[in-house]
Symmetry: none
Subunit: 170 residues, 4 copies
DNA sequence: TATGAATGAGGGTTCATTCAT
DNA sequence: AATGAATGAACCCTCATTCAT
């Protein structure tokens, strides 16, 4: 029972370290880097996540789940802004949205559902035209997310770019 | 000090092969694959491009130059469409637009100039509102390009997504 | 200083599990597999057997002792047949007979003694020629045992092969 | 053309090193050990043999081919003796004969053919009874080979053991 | 200049063994 | 005494880059 606490702490540390490492170096960050960052031996990483890909998936799902939660508390415009903000910090958001090799389908579908709801609200509020469909919103989200990764992006540019997209949805 | 005829031919073959290889497998395509595709030994690849990154840069610059030329012959809307179409075929366009690690700054600036001109024309034609600036157009271009890479994209989705962006610019 | 009842039970369970695991996957079966099979944590395995090799030795000795007992109740021919039969089921018999790296010398000597007695009886019964010595019988036993491990062996082939050996001893 | 010579020399060195390493430590000898023994970097080993298993297979096939050649120049008795002699030196002969996981079927079949011929000759010469079949001869060969690996085997013991087998075939 | 074999650092993963609880 | 998480050396293999021919 006590050890479980240690293990849980390590698992969290690994996830945190992985988030950071992948955020900075993308998916090619080394498992050893993750281990080091987490203050843990390499074997411990593999005890918790049998494969590097498993670790990647875990982080992506976490990320997507966080976004889904966020979606449930925002308007479409707010959500777009928040996602892009996070993407500016983390390379993994976009990797998650754009990755097809790894099995994150469920989580992605969960997010799509949330966004779908947001879109309906936006339509009801007159902030999205009725012809717009979810898939293009998701596509635009992914797109914006990706662009936000550019190191040259200032807050100002981010706002102007988002404004164009949101205007286009109206 | 011009290259020997066969050297020039090799260089071209390598570039072509690299374009194809990277288009298909992304930047993680092997130099050996490139060499093979070019019908050349690896040593030859490295004689022409001292580093894999150098090769990557060369291709990206080529790509950006091609896009700049294209920009000079189109309207803004046509250009967007054309770029996104190419991106759907080639993974490198987006890598080029989104890459910050490699030094392709000047080529990117060249493209920005061309797009700048397109934007002015669009404004004059009433197809872009006057407050829009080049940097957000570039950002949107990058974004659209990235999203276009998704394997799930149909032509239809591509069109709808572009429509939103172009509408937003107006 | 006898073991606690539960400790004794664990020790037995581990030995049984190890027998099974090594029988199936050879000596490369994992200690973790053994622990799992025994329904015990790894730590417990290592408390009882300080080393994987120690565990291996224990099993081999057990195996050899069982064979010695068997020898005391059979004729030479019966014994050969029985051993080969068991070897066809279990990969460890042969490993035990053929192993030189691990220290199972005394157990092996015990078996040799038993076989020695069998041989004398066989000679008396006219089923083994007088010039035959124990060491070659042991060698033949090891040999037959090994060959019996081949997956391609049918019962028929086993019998014919044994027949040759037994005939040779006469 | 000149490099080919170097490469060939390296390939031979690797095979020789691997033979030795595997002979001494069995199939669990490290590829690094092989590389070192061959005076070559690890990459070179993998350039010549894409996989450790490939290297293993290569050596086994070499071994089996050598034996097949030998078979074509001997009587059954001589062949048995020679094989057992080689087995005493090399752990791989037996591994080769007993291995089923790796694809050495062809080579094994080749050897079986050769032995088949030997057996016919032996029958003609009255040194093998007519009821004996090839498969049991192969089995006995494998068996003898395995037993020969024992470190305790003296030349004398080897001869006596073989004598029993050969007598049994008659 | 071209060739392609050689190099070797580094990556993901396994597993016997240790140790905190 | 038992648990099971943590350790870390070792393994197989890849690939950008170098260098002898």
């Amino acid at each position: 029972m006590a050890l479980r606490a240690d293990a849980a702490r390590n698992r969290a540390a690994i996830l945190a370290a992985a988030s950071e490492a992948f955020a900075e170096h993308g998916p090619k960050a080394t498992t050893e880097q993750v281990a080091q960052q987490a203050g843990v031996a390499i074997g411990t990483v593999f005890r918790h996540f049998a494969t590097k890909d498993d670790l990647l998936v875990a982080i992506m799902k976490e990320s997507l789940k966080r976004l889904a939660t966020l979606a449930d508390e925002s308007t479409l415009a707010e959500f777009f802004t928040a996602v892009v903000d996070e993407a500016a910090r983390t390379r993994m958001v976009v990797t998650a949205l754009g990755e097809s090799r790894l099995d994150i389908g469920d989580a992605l579908r969960g997010l799509t559902d949330s966004v779908s709801r947001l879109l309906e609200q936006a339509k009801a509020a007159g902030e999205a035209r009725s012809t717009v469909q979810v898939d293009e919103v998701m596509a635009l989200l992914t797109a914006a997310t990706y662009a936000a990764r550019q190191s040259s992006w200032t807050t100002d540019l981010r706002q102007r770019t988002l404004a164009v997209i949101l205007r286009g949805l109206r």
